[in-house]
């Protein structure tokens, strides 16, 4: 039997944990239906993150979404958050079974 996969986008945001709320609010505003989050450590332009105080960890947020909404979401994150927060985002292609969920 063959399963049909539909193409959607997987947006990943890695940011300082105190900025997670901002990202989720942006997703909310764009009516994104779901997301998955977890805590990570990391290193980047703002040095090593995750060793010190609890608030200095990073969060990783993964969002499966249709291509239509993608650039609006990225644009808002870029505009409102790139300057002030430790943050990295990237986009990949994935296939899903139940396209109606996203």
């Amino acid at each position: 039997m063959d399963v049909k996969l539909y193409k959607v986008k997987l947006l990943t945001v890695v940011c300082e944990i105190l900025a997670q709320k901002n990202v989720l609010e942006i997703l909310e505003r764009h009516n994104v239906t779901g997301y998955t989050t977890f805590e990570v450590h990391g290193k980047g332009a703002r040095g090593i993150r995750g060793q010190g105080l609890q608030n200095e960890k990073n969060a990783k947020i993964e969002v499966i979404m249709r291509e239509e909404k993608l650039s609006d979401v990225i644009e808002e994150i870029s505009r409102t958050m790139f300057a002030d927060y430790a943050l990295v985002l990237y986009v990949g292609d994935v296939g899903v079974v139940r396209t109606e969920k996203f």
Partner: protein, 355 residues
């Protein structure tokens, strides 16, 4: 000199020694670390213990006498925050955002510092007014609210100036307002304030008798729990030592001189208001302490433009050790004098009789 002796004897308590040990462990790049769940739980535990203790005390002594110290503390906190801002902005040449963030970090209070203070007094055989736990809770958000309000005012003003020259966007002003109210909500519902106030109320309700079955956990284990937390605080402070070089001479001086002034003013004012010897020390400590757990949580949302490396590093890496090692004994010595004891030694004798 007696103050030096007091500093020295304070230096040799488990709390201070384990803090210094944590710093050393971090410096030699040991992988020693208190697991996150434990070091996240300990402040909640410490605040619950402080709150219960304060509530029980308030039940015993009444809280009508709380009003004046509370209002004075709020007033001083606001005054100090504005004063910090002027100094940082004018003399320190920090930008608007960093100045307000730092000003409120030092206007706010540190719950961990407060815990250490209580334990220090216990070692000296002195008690303090229970309602100071309530002052701690109320003081938590005050300085932040002021600083956030002022920052937003200043930012709005800048915005308006821009708008007059070009076509302004209304939306951002709205964003500023939501930000402010959101931050107010958040800082009042922050876990530290919530557990502290809740525990005060519960302590008040249950009284000493109701406290009895939980006193082993919430009283007798208190100092041991601080010791464990101090290892982690030391490790984190030690990891930041490099950053201290980067905060610059001015901020380093600020992080030592400002708490000293605020703390001594606090001790004297508290004495005048009639607080006890121990209570005056704790009142001074409230004003001297800087916030390093609540501060990032609030300021990162409220003033994202400010550099957290500045306010966390100076509060945790410089002011906190200075306060618990040096300033606490100094304030104790001053409070001994303002309370009319001619020398600390004399006091000690008397204290010996009390315990």
């Amino acid at each position: 000199m007696e103050v030096l002796e007091l500093i020295q004897s304070n230096l040799l308590t488990p709390i201070v020694l384990f803090f210094l040990f944590g710093i050393i462990a971090a410096r030699i790049k040991s992988d020693l670390k208190i697991p996150e769940a434990i070091s996240e739980f300990l402040p909640i535990y410490l605040l619950a213990a402080i709150g219960l203790h304060g509530g029980i005390e308030m039940r015993n002594t009444g809280f009508e006498r709380m009003l004046v110290p509370m209002l004075v503390a709020i007033g001083l906190s606001l005054l100090f925050t504005i004063n910090h801002y002027q100094i940082l902005r004018r003399l320190g040449k920090f930008n608007l955002y960093d100045s307000y963030a730092l000003a409120s970090t030092y206007g706010a209070v540190g719950a961990v510092t407060f815990s250490v203070g209580l334990s220090f007094l216990r070692d000296q055989g002195v008690t303090s007014e229970g309602y100071l736990a309530a002052v701690l809770a109320v003081l938590e958000p005050v300085a932040f609210i002021l600083a956030i309000f002022m920052t937003n005012m200043a930012a709005a003003k800048q915005l308006r100036a821009k708008k007059q020259s070009a076509g302004g966007d209304e939306i951002d002003v709205g964003v500023q307002k939501t930000r402010l109210s959101g931050v107010l909500r958040e800082s009042v519902t922050g876990k530290a304030i919530v557990i502290l106030l809740g525990s005060i109320v519960i302590g008040y309700v249950i009284g000493s008798e109701g406290f009895e079955p939980i006193s082993i956990v919430f009283e007798e284990m208190f100092v041991g729990a601080i010791v464990i937390f101090m290892i982690e605080m030391g490790v984190i402070a030690g990891q930041r030592l490099e950053d201290i070089k980067r905060v610059g001479v001015f901020l380093t001086a600020f992080a030592i001189v400002m708490p000293t002034i605020n703390g001594i003013v606090g001790v004297v004012v508290a004495t005048v208001m009639g607080l006890s010897l121990g209570g005056s020390v704790m009142f001074g400590l409230l004003l001297a302490s800087a916030s390093f757990i609540a501060a990032p949580a609030v300021l990162r949302h409220a003033i994202p433009e400010a550099k957290p490396s500045l306010y966390i590093t100076s509060a945790l890496g410089i002011t906190f050790p200075y306060n618990i090692i040096v300033l606490l004994p100094i304030m104790f010595a001053i409070s001994t004098i303002t309370h009319g004891y001619e020398s600390i030694d004399l006091f000690r004798h008397m204290a010996g009789g009390w315990t």
